[in-house]
Amino acid sequence: MLSIATLLNDFMPLPRIEFGKIWSWLKVNDKPVRPEDRVNERRIIWIRERGENLPKGIAYPFSDGRVFYVPIAEASGKLLVRKAKEIVNPHEDLKSESSERIQPPEKIGELGSMAEPDVQRCLVEVYYGKKAPQILTELALV
Protein backbone atom coordinates (compact mmCIF):
# COMPACT_ATOMS: atom_id res chain seq x y z
CA MET A 1 0.00 0.00 0.00
CA LEU A 2 1.23 3.47 -0.77
CA SER A 3 1.95 5.60 2.24
CA ILE A 4 0.43 9.04 2.58
CA ALA A 5 3.88 10.59 2.41
CA THR A 6 4.65 8.83 -0.89
CA LEU A 7 1.35 9.94 -2.32
CA LEU A 8 2.00 13.50 -1.25
CA ASN A 9 5.41 13.45 -2.87
CA ASP A 10 3.84 12.28 -6.10
CA PHE A 11 1.30 15.06 -5.96
CA MET A 12 3.67 17.87 -5.18
CA PRO A 13 4.17 18.99 -8.80
CA LEU A 14 0.50 20.00 -8.74
CA PRO A 15 -0.42 23.55 -7.77
CA ARG A 16 -1.05 23.84 -4.06
CA ILE A 17 -4.68 24.74 -4.54
CA GLU A 18 -5.20 21.34 -6.14
CA PHE A 19 -3.74 19.64 -3.14
CA GLY A 20 -6.91 19.62 -1.08
CA LYS A 21 -8.96 18.28 -3.96
CA ILE A 22 -6.68 15.29 -4.12
CA TRP A 23 -7.82 14.32 -0.67
CA SER A 24 -11.36 14.19 -1.94
CA TRP A 25 -10.66 10.96 -3.76
CA LEU A 26 -7.76 9.72 -1.67
CA LYS A 27 -8.89 6.62 0.19
CA VAL A 28 -7.39 6.31 3.66
CA ASN A 29 -7.53 2.65 4.60
CA ASP A 30 -6.18 2.61 8.11
CA LYS A 31 -8.67 4.85 9.85
CA PRO A 32 -10.36 3.48 12.96
CA VAL A 33 -13.87 2.03 12.84
CA ARG A 34 -16.23 3.64 15.28
CA PRO A 35 -19.93 3.09 15.94
CA GLU A 36 -22.36 5.75 14.86
CA ASP A 37 -22.95 7.88 17.90
CA ARG A 38 -25.18 10.59 16.55
CA VAL A 39 -27.45 11.42 19.42
CA ASN A 40 -28.56 14.98 19.07
CA GLU A 41 -30.87 15.88 16.26
CA ARG A 42 -32.45 18.92 17.87
CA ARG A 43 -32.21 22.02 15.79
CA ILE A 44 -29.23 24.23 16.47
CA ILE A 45 -28.48 27.18 14.16
CA TRP A 46 -24.75 27.65 13.84
CA ILE A 47 -23.72 31.30 13.63
CA ARG A 48 -20.68 31.73 11.47
CA GLU A 49 -18.87 34.50 9.58
CA ARG A 50 -18.88 33.86 5.86
CA GLY A 51 -15.80 31.96 4.76
CA GLU A 52 -14.64 31.26 8.31
CA ASN A 53 -13.83 27.73 9.32
CA LEU A 54 -15.55 27.81 12.66
CA PRO A 55 -18.87 29.03 14.01
CA LYS A 56 -18.74 31.79 16.62
CA GLY A 57 -21.83 30.57 18.42
CA ILE A 58 -25.26 29.02 18.18
CA ALA A 59 -28.81 30.28 18.07
CA TYR A 60 -31.59 28.13 19.41
CA PRO A 61 -35.32 28.76 18.89
CA PHE A 62 -37.68 27.80 21.71
CA SER A 63 -41.23 26.66 21.11
CA ASP A 64 -42.59 29.88 22.66
CA GLY A 65 -41.00 31.91 19.83
CA ARG A 66 -38.01 33.18 21.78
CA VAL A 67 -34.57 32.67 20.22
CA PHE A 68 -31.37 32.73 22.24
CA TYR A 69 -27.80 33.28 21.10
CA VAL A 70 -24.85 31.65 22.87
CA PRO A 71 -21.20 32.23 21.90
CA ILE A 72 -18.72 29.35 21.80
CA ALA A 73 -15.19 29.54 23.25
CA GLU A 74 -12.98 29.28 20.17
CA ALA A 75 -10.15 27.06 21.35
CA SER A 76 -12.05 24.75 23.71
CA GLY A 77 -15.38 24.61 21.85
CA LYS A 78 -17.22 25.08 25.13
CA LEU A 79 -20.61 26.74 25.10
CA LEU A 80 -20.36 30.05 26.97
CA VAL A 81 -23.79 29.52 28.42
CA ARG A 82 -23.40 32.26 31.03
CA LYS A 83 -23.28 34.73 28.15
CA ALA A 84 -26.48 33.45 26.53
CA LYS A 85 -28.80 36.30 25.53
CA GLU A 86 -32.23 36.53 24.02
CA ILE A 87 -32.37 37.85 20.46
CA VAL A 88 -34.67 40.85 20.16
CA ASN A 89 -36.96 40.47 17.12
CA PRO A 90 -35.27 37.33 15.83
CA HIS A 91 -34.84 36.94 12.08
CA GLU A 92 -37.18 34.45 10.40
CA ASP A 93 -34.20 32.31 9.35
CA LEU A 94 -33.35 31.76 13.00
CA LYS A 95 -36.86 30.57 13.77
CA SER A 96 -37.77 28.60 10.68
CA GLU A 97 -37.34 24.83 10.61
CA SER A 98 -36.57 24.93 6.90
CA SER A 99 -33.79 27.55 6.87
CA GLU A 100 -30.09 26.80 6.49
CA ARG A 101 -28.44 25.39 9.60
CA ILE A 102 -25.60 27.90 9.28
CA GLN A 103 -26.48 31.58 9.39
CA PRO A 104 -24.27 34.71 9.33
CA PRO A 105 -23.83 36.88 12.47
CA GLU A 106 -25.78 39.75 10.87
CA LYS A 107 -28.92 37.69 11.34
CA ILE A 108 -28.55 37.83 15.13
CA GLY A 109 -29.33 41.54 15.27
CA GLU A 110 -29.92 43.14 18.64
CA LEU A 111 -29.36 41.12 21.77
CA GLY A 112 -31.57 41.61 24.79
CA SER A 113 -31.68 40.20 28.28
CA MET A 114 -29.47 37.47 29.67
CA ALA A 115 -30.91 33.96 29.63
CA GLU A 116 -32.43 32.86 32.93
CA PRO A 117 -31.10 29.64 34.54
CA ASP A 118 -33.91 27.47 33.13
CA VAL A 119 -33.08 28.61 29.64
CA GLN A 120 -29.35 28.11 30.25
CA ARG A 121 -30.07 24.57 31.41
CA CYS A 122 -32.09 23.85 28.29
CA LEU A 123 -29.37 25.28 26.03
CA VAL A 124 -26.77 23.05 27.67
CA GLU A 125 -28.99 20.01 27.15
CA VAL A 126 -29.56 20.86 23.50
CA TYR A 127 -25.89 21.45 22.76
CA TYR A 128 -24.24 18.74 24.83
CA GLY A 129 -26.81 15.97 24.49
CA LYS A 130 -25.76 12.97 26.54
CA LYS A 131 -22.87 14.88 28.12
CA ALA A 132 -25.27 17.52 29.46
CA PRO A 133 -25.65 16.15 33.03
CA GLN A 134 -21.91 16.39 33.60
CA ILE A 135 -21.72 19.92 32.15
CA LEU A 136 -24.74 21.05 34.16
CA THR A 137 -23.04 19.86 37.32
CA GLU A 138 -19.82 21.68 36.39
CA LEU A 139 -21.76 24.87 35.76
CA ALA A 140 -23.83 24.41 38.93
CA LEU A 141 -27.00 24.54 36.88
CA VAL A 142 -28.50 21.32 38.18
Binding site: F19, W23, K27, N40, G51, L54, A75, S76, V126
Partner: protein
Protein backbone atom coordinates in the same frame (compact mmCIF):
# COMPACT_ATOMS: atom_id res chain seq x y z
CA UNK B 1 -16.97 0.73 7.05
CA UNK B 2 -17.68 4.47 6.90
CA UNK B 3 -15.42 6.82 5.01
CA UNK B 4 -16.14 9.70 7.38
CA UNK B 5 -13.10 10.83 9.35
CA UNK B 6 -12.60 12.20 12.83
CA UNK B 7 -10.33 15.08 13.84
CA UNK B 8 -7.75 12.53 15.01
CA UNK B 9 -7.51 11.20 11.46
CA UNK B 10 -6.85 14.66 10.05
CA UNK B 11 -4.31 15.32 12.81
CA UNK B 12 -2.52 12.12 11.83
CA UNK B 13 -2.44 13.28 8.21
CA UNK B 14 -1.09 16.69 9.28
CA UNK B 15 1.69 14.92 11.21
CA UNK B 16 2.58 12.86 8.16
CA UNK B 17 2.72 15.93 5.94
CA UNK B 18 4.77 17.91 8.48
CA UNK B 19 7.20 15.04 9.03
CA UNK B 20 8.01 14.85 5.34
CA UNK B 21 10.75 17.47 5.02
CA UNK B 22 10.46 17.52 1.23
CA UNK B 23 6.94 18.90 1.44
CA UNK B 24 7.95 22.01 3.39
CA UNK B 25 4.53 22.00 4.95
CA UNK B 26 5.02 25.20 6.95
CA UNK B 27 7.51 26.96 4.75
CA UNK B 28 7.70 30.75 4.99
CA UNK B 29 10.05 33.61 4.20
CA UNK B 30 11.06 34.58 7.74
CA UNK B 31 7.86 36.47 8.46
CA UNK B 32 4.71 34.78 9.72
CA UNK B 33 1.39 36.46 10.46
CA UNK B 34 -1.17 35.29 13.04
CA UNK B 35 -4.81 36.32 13.12
CA UNK B 36 -7.77 35.90 15.42
CA UNK B 37 -11.36 37.09 15.42
CA UNK B 38 -12.34 39.65 18.09
CA UNK B 39 -14.47 38.38 20.93
CA UNK B 40 -18.20 39.17 20.96
CA UNK B 41 -17.63 41.53 23.88
CA UNK B 42 -15.18 43.57 21.83
CA UNK B 43 -17.35 43.52 18.71
CA UNK B 44 -20.29 44.84 20.72
CA UNK B 45 -18.22 47.85 21.78
CA UNK B 46 -17.24 48.82 18.24
CA UNK B 47 -19.31 51.55 16.64
CA UNK B 48 -19.42 51.62 12.85
CA UNK B 49 -18.27 49.12 10.28
CA UNK B 50 -16.58 45.98 11.58
CA UNK B 51 -14.13 44.25 9.28
CA UNK B 52 -13.39 40.68 10.22
CA UNK B 53 -9.80 40.12 11.37
CA UNK B 54 -9.34 37.22 8.97
CA UNK B 55 -10.27 39.49 6.06
CA UNK B 56 -7.95 42.19 7.42
CA UNK B 57 -5.14 39.67 7.81
CA UNK B 58 -5.59 38.46 4.23
CA UNK B 59 -5.19 42.07 3.12
CA UNK B 60 -2.37 43.06 5.48
CA UNK B 61 -0.10 40.02 5.22
CA UNK B 62 0.89 40.52 1.54
CA UNK B 63 1.56 44.22 2.22
CA UNK B 64 3.84 43.25 5.09
CA UNK B 65 5.49 40.49 3.08
CA UNK B 66 4.21 37.91 5.60
CA UNK B 67 2.98 34.33 5.34
CA UNK B 68 -0.38 33.32 6.82
CA UNK B 69 -1.19 29.79 7.89
CA UNK B 70 -3.67 29.86 4.98
CA UNK B 71 -0.70 30.21 2.60
CA UNK B 72 1.13 27.13 3.88
CA UNK B 73 0.67 23.62 2.54
CA UNK B 74 -1.00 22.59 5.79
CA UNK B 75 -3.36 25.55 5.61
CA UNK B 76 -4.21 24.70 2.01
CA UNK B 77 -4.80 21.09 2.97
CA UNK B 78 -7.23 21.98 5.75
CA UNK B 79 -8.94 24.79 3.84
CA UNK B 80 -9.63 22.53 0.89
CA UNK B 81 -10.40 19.31 2.69
CA UNK B 82 -13.72 17.89 1.55
CA UNK B 83 -13.48 14.29 2.67
CA UNK B 84 -12.30 10.96 1.36
CA UNK B 85 -13.83 8.04 -0.49
CA UNK B 86 -17.61 8.21 -0.52
CA UNK B 87 -17.78 10.75 2.34
CA UNK B 88 -17.31 13.97 0.40
CA UNK B 89 -18.96 17.33 0.94
CA UNK B 90 -19.68 19.91 -1.74
CA UNK B 91 -18.60 22.88 0.40
CA UNK B 92 -14.98 23.33 1.29
CA UNK B 93 -14.85 24.71 4.82
CA UNK B 94 -13.60 22.41 7.54
CA UNK B 95 -16.62 22.93 9.76
CA UNK B 96 -18.98 21.94 6.93
CA UNK B 97 -17.27 18.57 6.79
CA UNK B 98 -17.78 17.92 10.48
CA UNK B 99 -21.31 19.31 10.41
CA UNK B 100 -22.18 16.83 7.65
CA UNK B 101 -20.32 13.99 9.36
CA UNK B 102 -23.01 11.63 10.71
CA UNK B 103 -20.62 9.95 13.14
CA UNK B 104 -20.20 13.08 15.22
CA UNK B 105 -22.76 14.37 17.69
CA UNK B 106 -23.75 18.05 17.84
CA UNK B 107 -21.67 18.85 20.89
CA UNK B 108 -18.59 17.34 19.30
CA UNK B 109 -18.83 18.95 15.87
CA UNK B 110 -17.20 22.20 16.88
CA UNK B 111 -14.45 20.49 18.84
CA UNK B 112 -13.71 18.11 15.97
CA UNK B 113 -13.56 21.02 13.50
CA UNK B 114 -11.24 23.15 15.60
CA UNK B 115 -8.87 20.35 16.67
CA UNK B 116 -6.97 20.00 13.34
CA UNK B 117 -6.64 23.79 13.06
CA UNK B 118 -5.33 23.98 16.62
CA UNK B 119 -2.81 21.29 15.85
CA UNK B 120 -1.70 23.09 12.68
CA UNK B 121 -1.60 26.47 14.44
CA UNK B 122 0.72 25.11 17.09
CA UNK B 123 3.09 23.90 14.38
CA UNK B 124 2.82 27.23 12.58
CA UNK B 125 3.80 29.12 15.73
CA UNK B 126 6.67 26.71 16.32
CA UNK B 127 7.81 27.08 12.72
CA UNK B 128 7.95 30.88 13.03
CA UNK B 129 11.29 32.67 12.96
CA UNK B 130 12.51 36.12 12.02
CA UNK B 131 9.54 38.47 12.06
CA UNK B 132 6.08 37.75 13.42
CA UNK B 133 3.16 40.10 12.94
CA UNK B 134 -0.47 39.82 13.96
CA UNK B 135 -4.04 40.86 13.26
CA UNK B 136 -5.48 39.86 16.60
CA UNK B 137 -6.96 43.08 17.93
CA UNK B 138 -9.68 42.20 20.45
CA UNK B 139 -8.89 38.48 20.40
CA UNK B 140 -10.62 36.38 23.00
CA UNK B 141 -8.61 34.72 25.75
CA UNK B 142 -10.27 31.50 24.54
CA UNK B 143 -8.91 31.89 21.03
CA UNK B 144 -6.45 29.55 19.34
CA UNK B 145 -4.17 32.54 18.90
CA UNK B 146 -4.10 33.37 22.61
CA UNK B 147 -3.97 29.83 23.93
CA UNK B 148 -1.47 28.42 21.42
CA UNK B 149 0.12 30.79 18.95
CA UNK B 150 1.25 33.40 21.47
CA UNK B 151 2.92 31.02 23.95
CA UNK B 152 4.49 28.78 21.30
CA UNK B 153 5.77 31.78 19.32
CA UNK B 154 7.48 33.06 22.47
CA UNK B 155 8.60 29.74 23.88
CA UNK B 156 8.93 26.61 21.73
CA UNK B 157 9.22 24.58 24.95
CA UNK B 158 5.83 25.77 26.15
CA UNK B 159 3.95 22.88 27.85
CA UNK B 160 1.05 21.34 25.94
CA UNK B 161 -2.37 22.61 27.05
CA UNK B 162 -4.50 20.12 28.98
CA UNK B 163 -6.81 19.46 26.03
CA UNK B 164 -3.98 18.68 23.59
CA UNK B 165 -1.44 15.92 23.34
CA UNK B 166 2.23 16.87 23.56
CA UNK B 167 3.90 16.87 20.18
CA UNK B 168 5.56 13.59 19.27
CA UNK B 169 9.33 13.69 19.90
CA UNK B 170 10.24 13.13 16.24
CA UNK B 171 8.07 15.99 15.13
CA UNK B 172 9.09 18.26 17.97
CA UNK B 173 12.71 17.80 16.94
CA UNK B 174 11.86 19.50 13.63
CA UNK B 175 10.96 22.73 15.44
CA UNK B 176 12.66 22.71 18.83
CA UNK B 177 15.06 24.40 19.15
CA UNK B 178 14.07 26.75 16.38
CA UNK B 179 16.09 26.76 13.18
CA UNK B 180 16.45 30.53 13.59
CA UNK B 181 15.18 32.74 16.41
CA UNK B 182 12.12 34.94 16.36
CA UNK B 183 13.65 38.42 16.34
CA UNK B 184 10.69 40.79 16.28
CA UNK B 185 6.99 40.55 17.02
CA UNK B 186 5.00 43.41 15.52
CA UNK B 187 8.28 45.27 15.05
CA UNK B 188 9.05 45.08 18.78
CA UNK B 189 12.23 43.27 19.84
CA UNK B 190 11.47 39.69 20.81
CA UNK B 191 13.02 40.06 24.30
CA UNK B 192 10.54 42.75 25.17
CA UNK B 193 7.64 40.41 24.45
CA UNK B 194 9.35 37.42 26.08
CA UNK B 195 9.61 39.32 29.37
CA UNK B 196 5.83 39.22 29.59
CA UNK B 197 5.68 35.43 29.30
CA UNK B 198 5.78 32.65 31.85
CA UNK B 199 4.68 29.06 31.07
CA UNK B 200 1.47 29.63 33.03
CA UNK B 201 0.74 33.27 32.29
CA UNK B 202 1.35 35.36 29.16
CA UNK B 203 -1.25 38.11 29.38
CA UNK B 204 1.46 40.78 29.52
CA UNK B 205 3.17 39.38 26.43
CA UNK B 206 -0.19 39.44 24.67
CA UNK B 207 -0.74 43.06 25.67
CA UNK B 208 2.67 44.08 24.32
CA UNK B 209 1.97 42.23 21.07
CA UNK B 210 -1.40 43.99 20.91
CA UNK B 211 0.20 47.42 21.43
CA UNK B 212 2.74 46.61 18.73
CA UNK B 213 -0.08 45.72 16.36
CA UNK B 214 -1.95 48.90 17.24
CA UNK B 215 1.16 50.94 16.47
CA UNK B 216 1.59 49.19 13.13
CA UNK B 217 -2.02 49.42 12.01
CA UNK B 218 -2.35 53.08 12.99
CA UNK B 219 0.78 53.88 11.02
CA UNK B 220 -0.59 51.89 8.09
CA UNK B 221 -3.88 53.79 8.31
CA UNK B 222 -2.06 57.14 8.26
CA UNK B 223 0.27 56.06 5.49
CA UNK B 224 0.24 58.59 2.65
CA UNK B 225 -1.68 61.24 4.58
CA UNK B 226 -0.11 64.68 4.36
CA UNK B 227 1.65 65.45 7.69
CA UNK B 228 0.10 68.90 7.59
CA UNK B 229 -3.33 67.36 7.55
CA UNK B 230 -2.35 65.20 10.49
CA UNK B 231 -0.99 68.26 12.29
CA UNK B 232 -4.24 70.12 11.77
CA UNK B 233 -6.25 67.14 12.82
CA UNK B 234 -4.13 66.75 15.90
CA UNK B 235 -4.71 70.34 16.87
CA UNK B 236 -8.43 70.07 16.29
CA UNK B 237 -8.79 66.81 18.12
CA UNK B 238 -6.74 67.84 21.13
CA UNK B 239 -7.49 71.52 21.54
CA UNK B 240 -9.28 71.09 24.84
CA UNK B 241 -6.81 68.60 26.24
CA UNK B 242 -3.28 69.44 25.18
CA UNK B 243 -1.71 72.78 25.95
CA UNK B 244 1.09 72.20 23.45
CA UNK B 245 -0.07 70.01 20.55
CA UNK B 246 3.05 70.92 18.60
CA UNK B 247 5.08 68.69 20.96
CA UNK B 248 2.72 65.85 20.29
CA UNK B 249 3.05 66.41 16.57
CA UNK B 250 6.82 66.46 16.87
CA UNK B 251 6.67 63.16 18.73
CA UNK B 252 4.34 61.75 16.13
CA UNK B 253 6.82 62.60 13.38
CA UNK B 254 9.68 61.02 15.31
CA UNK B 255 7.76 57.85 16.09
CA UNK B 256 6.63 57.60 12.48
CA UNK B 257 10.21 57.82 11.36
CA UNK B 258 11.12 54.98 13.74
CA UNK B 259 8.27 52.92 12.38
CA UNK B 260 9.27 53.50 8.77
CA UNK B 261 12.85 52.49 9.52
CA UNK B 262 11.67 49.32 11.30
CA UNK B 263 9.23 48.45 8.54
CA UNK B 264 11.90 49.02 5.91
CA UNK B 265 14.18 46.56 7.71
CA UNK B 266 11.38 44.03 8.01
CA UNK B 267 10.49 44.16 4.33
CA UNK B 268 14.16 43.99 3.41
CA UNK B 269 14.70 40.88 5.51
CA UNK B 270 11.67 39.02 4.18
CA UNK B 271 12.30 37.26 0.90
CA UNK B 272 9.58 39.25 -0.82
CA UNK B 273 10.11 42.25 -2.98
CA UNK B 274 10.67 45.20 -0.65
CA UNK B 275 8.31 48.08 -1.11
CA UNK B 276 9.63 51.49 -1.94
CA UNK B 277 10.45 53.17 1.33
CA UNK B 278 9.86 56.77 2.34
CA UNK B 279 13.17 56.83 4.16
CA UNK B 280 15.83 59.31 3.05
CA UNK B 281 19.17 60.08 4.67
CA UNK B 282 19.12 61.21 8.33
CA UNK B 283 19.87 64.78 7.23
CA UNK B 284 17.03 64.77 4.71
CA UNK B 285 14.65 63.41 7.32
CA UNK B 286 15.75 66.08 9.81
CA UNK B 287 15.21 68.89 7.30
CA UNK B 288 11.83 67.46 6.32
CA UNK B 289 10.77 67.10 9.94
CA UNK B 290 11.81 70.65 10.83
CA UNK B 291 9.98 72.02 7.82
CA UNK B 292 6.84 70.13 8.74
CA UNK B 293 7.03 71.27 12.34
CA UNK B 294 7.61 74.86 11.26
CA UNK B 295 4.62 74.71 8.95
CA UNK B 296 2.54 73.48 11.81
CA UNK B 297 3.87 76.23 14.04
CA UNK B 298 3.06 78.87 11.44
CA UNK B 299 -0.47 77.58 11.18
CA UNK B 300 -0.82 77.71 14.93
CA UNK B 301 0.59 81.25 15.03
CA UNK B 302 -1.74 82.37 12.28
CA UNK B 303 -4.59 80.95 14.26
CA UNK B 304 -3.48 82.86 17.36
CA UNK B 305 -3.23 86.03 15.32
CA UNK B 306 -6.72 85.58 13.92
CA UNK B 307 -8.12 84.94 17.36
CA UNK B 308 -6.43 88.09 18.69
CA UNK B 309 -7.85 90.15 15.91
CA UNK B 310 -11.32 88.87 16.65
CA UNK B 311 -11.11 90.02 20.25
CA UNK B 312 -11.86 93.62 21.28
CA UNK B 313 -8.51 95.42 21.87
CA UNK B 314 -9.19 95.73 25.60
CA UNK B 315 -9.61 91.99 25.98
CA UNK B 316 -6.52 90.92 24.06
CA UNK B 317 -3.84 89.11 26.08
CA UNK B 318 -0.42 90.60 26.42
CA UNK B 319 1.14 89.05 23.32
CA UNK B 320 3.38 91.24 21.15
CA UNK B 321 1.88 92.00 17.76
CA UNK B 322 3.44 90.01 14.93
CA UNK B 323 3.02 89.38 11.24
CA UNK B 324 3.50 86.31 9.08
CA UNK B 325 4.91 87.25 5.72
CA UNK B 326 6.40 84.80 3.23
CA UNK B 327 6.46 81.97 5.73
CA UNK B 328 8.40 84.02 8.33
CA UNK B 329 7.32 85.62 11.56
CA UNK B 330 8.21 89.25 12.17
CA UNK B 331 7.24 91.77 14.83
CA UNK B 332 4.60 94.10 13.58
CA UNK B 333 5.83 97.62 13.20
Amino acid sequence: MSDWLYADDLIRMIDEIVSNSKLKALDHNGHTHFYSTPSDDVINQIAGVIINNHARALRRAPRLGATLIDDTLIGQFLSNFRGTGSAIISKKVTFDYFLANPLISADDKYYQAVAPWKHASRYFALASWGYVSTTICGASRDSVYYTLETPYAVNPYHPAPSDMQPIHDDLEALFVPRVKPVEFINLLPFDRVAKGYTPTKWERAHRIIGLGEQRMTLNEALDGVNPRTIGEGLRKASVEVLSRPIEVFQYYLESRECYLVDRHLMLKSAATKPKKSDIGTPQERQIKREREATEFGLMALQLVKTELELLPPADRPNIPAFSIIGGKVTFAV
